[in-house]
Amino acid sequence: MKHIYFLFYLLFSLLINVPGQAQQTEKVLDGTFTRVPFEQFVRLVESQTSYRFYFDPAATDSLFITLKAQNLPVPAALTQALQPTGFRFAVDDEKRVFVTAGKPIEATLPSTFFQNTIDGATIARADAAAPQQNTPVGRSRYVREAEYVVHDIGTGTGAGTGKATLAGHVRDLKSGQPIIGATVYTENPDAGTSTDQFGYYSLTVPVGRRDIKIRGIGVKNTKRQVFLRGDGRLEIEVEEDITSLKEVVIEAEKDKNVAGMQMGLTKLDIKTMRQVPTAFGETDILRVILTLPGVKSVGEGNTGLNVRGGATDQNLILFNGTTIYNPSHLFGFFSAFNPDILQTVELYKSAIPAKYGGRLSSVLEITTREGNRKKFSGSGGIGPLTGRLTLEGPIVKDKSSFIISGRSSYSDWILRRLSNSSFRNSTASFYDVSAHVSQQFNDKNSVYATGYLSADRFRLASDTTYQYINQNASLKWQHSFNNKIYGVFTGAYSHYGYDITSEKNPVTASRLQYGIKQTNLQADFSYFPNTKHTIDFGVSSLLYQISPGSLKPNGEGSLIAPAILGREQALESALYVSDRIDVSPRFSVAVGLRYSLFNALGPRDVYQYAAGLSKSENTIIDTLRYGSGKVLATYHGPEYRLSARYALTDNSSVKLSYNRTRQYIHQLTNTASVSPADIWKLSDANVRPQVGDQYAVGFYRNFKSNTIETSVEAYYKSLRDFVDYKSGATLILNPHIETDIVNALGKAYGVEVLVKKTTGKVNGWLSYTYSRSLVRVNAATTSDMVNGGRYYPSNFDKPHDATLVGNYRFSRRFSTSLNLTYSTGRPITLPLAKYTSGNATRVYYSERNAYRIPDYYRADFALNIEGGHKVKKLAHSSWTLGLYNLTGRRNPYSVYFKSENGQIKGYQLSIFGQPIPTITYNFKF
């Protein structure tokens, strides 16, 4: 076997190796090679020089060398020739060249190899005399040195059986940005942790000589050797894995599927998201999320997510810790997040950590990048409708950085060029700006500030202007008390509001406004008492302030009577603690408890309704007036979070989880899709909070050395008191909204199957979900019942759903992606017949959601062309050519019925009626 040869040569070379060997007159290479087969090239080099090559012929059979050499030394020529390929080489002092795919082998032992003794006194610091000519290509000297130096940590002898805690940050070598979710571990004994959103880790291991290994998404695997005498810090800088630029590889977390504690968690990095073709050529995280098993939406042009049978308001969308209420632009055709600033997106579908609360179904945590701490850089792109630009750089080198990113549509510009005058009088535009600043004061204190603003404005044929806006800000202070405990103190503010102005008719000109403000303060602590326990605890408090709606006349001539609904206020507080216990390497458990308390606050007038009767204006028996700050309703309850993992073998495991969640805020939309005019309503004396329980079980197995991940997860969910609507509910400007809504029961269950290939030329994932989502409105009064009080399919009940996301990489520069999506059509209530009664035509409807619109099917295709892969280059650029809805299938977005000349006619609206070609240019400097 090849490996044995390598080992042999390695040993051999070591035995005879004398450090600092002098350079002899070196043979140089001359000539021009154009796609010369590698073997041929090798024979040529071997004939001209004394170098001898060792490689796997099977692995290099598709390797061709293109090179222009003019008196180049062999290592330099090889560096140049192999640079754009996936191959690396190493040369030993005997001029033996080892060519390998991926990582270069270490042709020499570290200089400290023979110096390590149990006596700590002889441990060397960084060795400047390391042989330069042996530095493998693609590996920076810094990291190589850091890997081979034994870091002396703490004070003490390092002897004995005690334990010590090592903590620090993992950062990118070039940009200084934190690496999130990287695994930091030792193999003997088995102990590990992963870095948090700040790149922070804390690992408790027995004292003595340890190898600390580091793996993370998009970074090269590395290790640090430490001699641990006591608690101490180790800052780790790692290199970006450029070779994985086009692979969706989560190589670093290869076995996370099986070995990770978390179930129902999907983590995507921006590279994965970039590959999925979209309608407008722009990376859209919400579109990518929709390709995952268990995540659905009612239709295109709609970013409302339905996670595991939950409603669209049951997802907590966090952007660097602030809650985003409307994650979309232009009715949902774009997600509101600029892809350039994103680092990772994590979606928790089950086993939601105790740290998160306030929503029933899922947590979508979006983390932005920290700006480059080392140098100024930028990136951007131009698509068919939008342009975007990101700038980042250090404020104080290695201490603080900023990143600011903006995106804007230029559709207004296009509109003004159209000949149709009604188009010229229209505007449709949006923009978003995100900024993030991080400042590290010292090892123990860092501060992070984020600001986010997104706004939409469209005016249609100079009639009604719609505007809506998200404003968010957060400030985080991370403080390490010691190596075992650190805290993050967060203050955040979110605001969402809309403003609909009508000007066409001066008599009815009006302005409708809605706004929600959320201010929260929270403290989260992580405590690592020993290798077996990871304890998180914290406290949070959240103040909601809602202006539920105001309608005002717009202009002098308007006769609109002003209507302003009273403000709503509430305080939501929570305490939580969770412990992750690694009982044995095979078995681990996480237990958590969150206790949330909700106080609806005055000033407010609260209607009281006659007991046992349907709530309506007619059953109001009293009105109670609460003063400012007075508590008008209190709800509280525990939220349990449990999960367990048992590893059956090295590459298969079983996981279980149970969690309860409580939600005190409800989105009111009695239409099938999410619209910007939807409003959020707080629980109060008449609207109970929603409570959900989810039980999930999963089996995970990896194949082919963790390159193929498979999983099967099944869940059962029961939901209580979520909001459903009475027939013909009026939601906007309704001062007694409780008369139009009912508390519903829900149940959802399903099985999700995922097969994912993470590496190789062909990669991607295939997911299939069978799921049901059912609702039951069995109110005390018959008139409030829906479908006779029986379970009926929810608006987003789509039992079968299959998605294929496939990527094929022709070469480093060309790759293609293909998306296939199929799902059952969503339920609909159909008019079945018409008749005349009371001098008018009436329609007889089916039971609610008794029928379905036709099935959904779509195929998309994209071709990515990367610029050259030279590491040093003025600007890197790429082109994406996409074809959305390849087959031009007219998927019904909605089916609706209109009365025309006494006939009631059915129509289906397809948003994408034909293939949509797009082209996007991206750059980075």
């Binding site: 055709f333 559709s411 509109l415 188009f423 449709a428 469209f458 009604t464 719609y466 009006s510 309608l551 009577a561 209507a563 239409t671 099938a672 899709s673 619209s675 005019a677 609507y725 027939s727 013909g728 509910a729 009026t730 906007i732 400007l733 008139s783 159909l830 008019p831 079945l832 017949a833 018409k834 008749y835 005349t836 009664s837 009371g838 001098n839 008018a840 329609v843 007889y844 409807y845 089916s846 029928y851 019904p892 977005y893 909605s894 089916v895 609706y896 009365s899 006939q903 009631i904 006619k905 059915g906 129509y907 289906q908 609206l909 397809s910 948003i911 994408f912 009626g913 034909q914 949509i916």
Partner: protein, 393 residues
């Protein structure tokens, strides 16, 4: 107050702008072949004649009106008591009782045996006595005319009210023909067209009110009808007959849902419609549905007249015949050389919906053409009846 936003139309517009979206007719199989359900319309009149119409539902895309249900045996049944039959009238599908006075202490139901042998019955319902209408008033404001209804029940028994109304108004066409086309030639008119007609319209909106929130069972100035200041109905004399129905809480709820279902038809941004059947069940076939709500109550009514000279003089009331002006001219002397007059007349007036009004003559008395217009602009009977209603002053 905008009850819902025009978001849907905005979305459609936006899509039309940005995307190659498309809208296609769509008829689900289930909609194109529905079962024909029995529809029962009417109420049991506790003090008078009960009229019930029976029909079958039709396909939602149907152009034909719902077919009447003929040959059924319909009767009013008192709980543990007598039975009154409703024979079918000359208008098929309409069944009427004799003049009845029902006992307000008893419960009644409607029972239907169809010709096909299916037997239906409503639930037994109590008899509610409708209080008299206190007043039907009107008010003219800048925006137009508002008609209000007021009522009360001193015994606090009514609480739920529903109103229907019938409007009647005079119409006068702008033309009164002196000639007519008969047997291929123009002659002086034999039977002149009526100069005045009366048009009638029944309310289709569902008007409901409840007094449960009030300390008294009193409806004060409920806005029943609004007419713009240009409404042609107000041109001469206008009359409205308001009928008041007392309702039970269940019936009120039924009409409330029916109102909401009718106002909105399942578009994406409309509220979800709901299935609504009523209180009629099929006794011998559970799977048969019947639509409608039968209640038993008396009816009170009141009529109001409004004449043009009572309304503000600044109102620009239309005639309803704006599109009829000006009249057409059929020339007999054009083009040159003119075709035979008979052919020209034949071409113009052989269609009975196009009528000559008077002849155009040269100073020497030669007829060179006819002023003419479509029948709808001339004969007011196309828009009403020439028979003066007996209540008209």
């Amino acid at each position: 107050m905008p009850r819902r936003l025009p978001v849907y139309s905005a979305l459609l517009w936006l899509l039309a702008l940005l995307l190659p979206s498309c809208i296609e007719p769509y008829t689900p199989d289930v909609v194109s072949s529905p079962r024909q359900f029995l529809v029962v319309d009417g109420f049991i009149n506790s003090q008078g004649i009960t009229t019930i119409t029976l029909q079958r539902t039709v396909d939602i895309a149907a152009k034909t009106p719902p077919p009447p249900e003929k040959g059924a045996a319909v009767s009013i049944e008192e709980e543990n008591g007598s039975r009154h039959t409703l024979p079918e009238g000359t208008v098929k599908g309409t069944y009427s009782s004799a003049q009845l006075t029902l006992n307000p202490q008893r419960n009644y139901r409607l029972r239907i045996l169809t010709a096909a042998g299916k037997e239906y019955a409503s639930e037994y319902v109590p008899v509610k006595t409708t209080p008299p209408i206190d007043a039907v008033t009107w008010q003219a404001a800048d925006k137009g005319l508002s008609i209000y209804v007021s009522s009360h029940d001193a015994s606090n028994q009514t609480q739920y009210y529903r109103w229907e109304y019938t409007e009647t108004w005079e119409i006068t066409s702008p033309y009164n023909p002196l000639v007519e086309y008969k047997n291929g030639r123009i002659q002086n008119i034999v039977t002149p067209f009526p100069t005045i007609c009366w048009s009638t319209n029944n309310s289709s909106a569902i008007a409901l009110a409840s007094t449960t929130r009030l300390t008294q069972d009193k409806v004060s100035n409920y806005l029943l009808r609004s007419l713009p200041s240009t409404a042609d109905r107000l041109r001469q004399r206008y009359s409205i007959l308001v009928k008041q129905h007392a309702q039970t809480a269940d019936e009120y709820m039924y009409w409330e849902i029916l109102r909401k279902n009718t106002e909105n038809i399942g578009t994406l941004f409309d509220p979800l419609p709901s299935q609504l059947t009523g209180n009629i069940r099929c006794l011998n076939d559970e799977s048969e549905l019947a639509l409608g709500f039968i209640s038993a109550h008396s009816v009170e009514q009141k009529r109001l007249f409004i004449t043009r000279n009572e309304l503000p003089t600044t109102w620009r009331i239309q005639s309803g015949y704006e599109s009829c002006l000006p009249a057409d001219t059929i020339f007999l002397d054009r083009p040159t050389p003119p075709p035979p007059a008979a052919a020209t007349l034949q071409a113009a007036f052989s269609n009975p919906n196009y009528l000559p009004i008077y002849a155009l003559e040269t100073p020497t008395g030669t007829v060179y053409g006819y002023i003419s217009k479509s029948r709808d602009c001339i004969d007011c009977r196309t828009r009403g009846t020439a028979v003066k209603p007996d209540f008209w002053p």
